[in-house]
Point group: D2
Chain length 247, copies 4
């Protein structure tokens, strides 16, 4: 296969991940990573039947062997010198709200493993492809984008489990921005400060009206905007929230 | 005159201000505010002769009477119920780097007067127009955008004069974002973290190569992007820097 | 008079200022600055009759001539080469909570003038005395301490007036810490995050119980602690709040 | 044994940990935790022979079974209803500075395991003892103090490994401060922003002079100060650096 640049999305679910994949699929072949094939199968079908190209790979982002194997699959599919135009880390330890002394160690540990170690593993796997994207003169500087949350900058009572992983991920993204920016890779972190409007949250925050939740497509547009910034004007961090959100 | 929405840019100079004005002039009639007509005359001519509409008004942004008089001029020109789609505050106390005990009080005072009080005066003058923009159902949520700097978040030795005004302006923008977001006005703050590539800085930072400085047009694009975010996905703050910048 | 080091407290009222003055008066002659002599007269009497030394000087901290004249009075009283061991800026623009479009310009302006310009004027007046304190080998590194608030780091809706001045003051303190630390002056900023327990606030927050408000004496103890830190271990910033405070 | 309150120090080495243990040993029996008995044996001897009481327990802070077993030893030694007046987490993943793509996964993982998961395990093990300290009306509010670093708030290029764990630990401490403050436990985080003066760093930063490094005893004094703050005046975070440090 030719060396057309690809986009890789980790943490494809019904919300941000899928919207981002659709957005980037308009320009690049996309690789969809999720543990459970249910998370990407219908999306891959939708993209492929709509004239785009999507490959779903069942992957545990917190397991480096699983991620290495995903990279092998990518190379088989797109060529061994394939470069990436974008890699988006949208995985996350589960939201978990409990009195601290009732948090099971394995829940804390697992959350950290997905958010922090998963971020590390994904970055180590995709940065070589993104650097190849730089060599191959991608139209836009190759992007590594991390999805953060309110809990990335504020660690509330009962939220230690989720926040710890999210602060760790933000630290990772800042260090990578400083190291890889000069090498031409654009590393960004998005603070999603609010509830995203997906089927599961349909009944939430109705008191805020029809614009009380973040649009997943809106987030995807913003990630695309980050992706298209030129080397002279890189943004590391944006925050995103509904106009009506209290913050 | 009809109630076509306008954009107002304060602090039009050879860099960001002019680039932002050009960008927004592609969609809106623009009002250019600067103390010295030299700062906007050729730009207004350029926009008007290119098919756009620009009105320059000589204004001291730190003087509320001068700003009130500018608003009168705007209403005469565009109608008394004119609404605004965007207001961009790009004025700033001068960059001033001196040992603290050598800073003349009037220099400190003037810097604060432009950055902090100027921001206040401009916001009080333009928010009523932006709220009219909301009523008049502007295509994009009306935007109030403030230009910040590295010194908006870091107050280095010898930089007290400039940083004090810039932190004050950032505080203003955060409070306004929280108050006016729910009313439909999108308030943003951009941290410009680096040197902007304008004639005056031509010889600076050459060691960083051709992409070592921020592009003013790039900043304008980013302001436009902020402007086009929908109500469900507002960004308060972005940072912007060249990929090669140390930070 | 001999060159005994003094402490200077600006913004002496019934709360923090008075408590700090009492605390520092146990070791140093104290100078009490406030606009209204009512604010310091009984306190000066109390300190003087208790074996300490206190001099009250009616001063408008936002007026450099008034502050210069206070320094003249200090030199007459304590000698022209008097040094300072501590200077504490506890003045503040008034707390003001209003919809932004209803804030009179002079209220905003006055708040900024006290918090930001007052901080500047006080620092320029006292830093030469603090540097003399360094020369005269004060037992503890001479301290310049600024009183901040929740609004120094968070700028809420309706709080633009107060927060703008407080962010500006924090910026000032950070720049001064960086410039004057290497010269031996310890510059600190305290974020007072809660209501202080003074007669005026007696009826507030009763639902939080007897420990729901900050103790002014506790704040004074913390300022003294900051003052006694050695050159190897300077703190720029502390936050202070009641254990029960939500934050 | 009687229910005298104890202090527990995790991460006892030649620097901060030992100094903190000595300081708190003047008032409380101290428990010294470190993986290698070499780290605490001579210190325990020194404290015990000086009239204090110290118990060293070889413990892997990142292993919950090891920590549980340490708690069993503590209860055998001090009684099953022993309360704690202080618990200090001074352990840390090793400082590691490398290009990101050269960081072995197990190094990153181990660092996170000590800094973040170790903090979690230590907090879950000691908070019940600290809450007993509250019940048993300790003279000062029981304290849980975490040692942070420059890398707790700034994540530089090449520092992803260390910073990720440190940001995670800071998040943990902030959430715990908010949850346990109202329950009477004082949770703090200290940003140690500089090099600590210990034998290993003797030759470092000589150009900064004799006060260019942090004093470990100074840090211990500051931790003690945090410990003695009353419930009305809790500090969550302090920063500490030599006066001459650039920051």
């Amino acid at each position: 296969m030719a060396s057309k640049l690809i986009a890789i999305v980790a943490g494809v679910g019904p919300g941000t991940g899928a919207a981002v994949a659709r957005k980037f699929a308009a320009t690049y072949p996309v690789v969809l990573l999720a543990r459970n094939p249910d998370s990407f199968e219908s999306l891959a079908k939708e993209i492929n039947s709509g004239g785009g190209k999507a490959v779903g790979i069942s992957t545990d982002i917190s397991d480096s062997n699983s991620v290495k194997s995903a990279v092998e699959t990518i190379k088989k599919e797109f060529g061994s010198d394939v470069g990436a135009a974008a890699a988006i880390f949208n995985a996350s330890g589960g939201f978990f709200r409990k009195p601290f002394l009732e948090v099971p160690e394995d829940v804390f540990s697992k959350s950290l493993k997905v958010s922090a170690e998963g971020g590390f593993i994904f970055s180590q796997a995709t940065l070589p492809l993104l650097l190849k994207g730089v060599e191959q003169k991608s139209a836009h500087p190759p992007s590594l984008i991390f999805t953060g949350a309110t809990a990335s900058v504020k660690s509330n009572a009962l939220m230690a489990t989720f926040a710890t992983g999210k602060w760790a991920l933000r630290a990772l993204s800042q260090s990578l921005a400083r190291e890889f920016g000069p090498q031409g890779v654009h590393v960004s972190h998005a603070i999603i400060d609010g509830v995203i409007d997906i089927p599961r949250t349909k009944e939430w925050l109705k008191e805020l009206g029809p614009e009380g939740k973040l649009s997943a497509d809106g987030i995807a547009n913003d990630y695309w905007w980050l992706h298209t910034q030129p080397r002279t004007n890189f943004t590391w961090e944006i925050d995103l929230r509904p106009a009506v959100e209290k913050w």
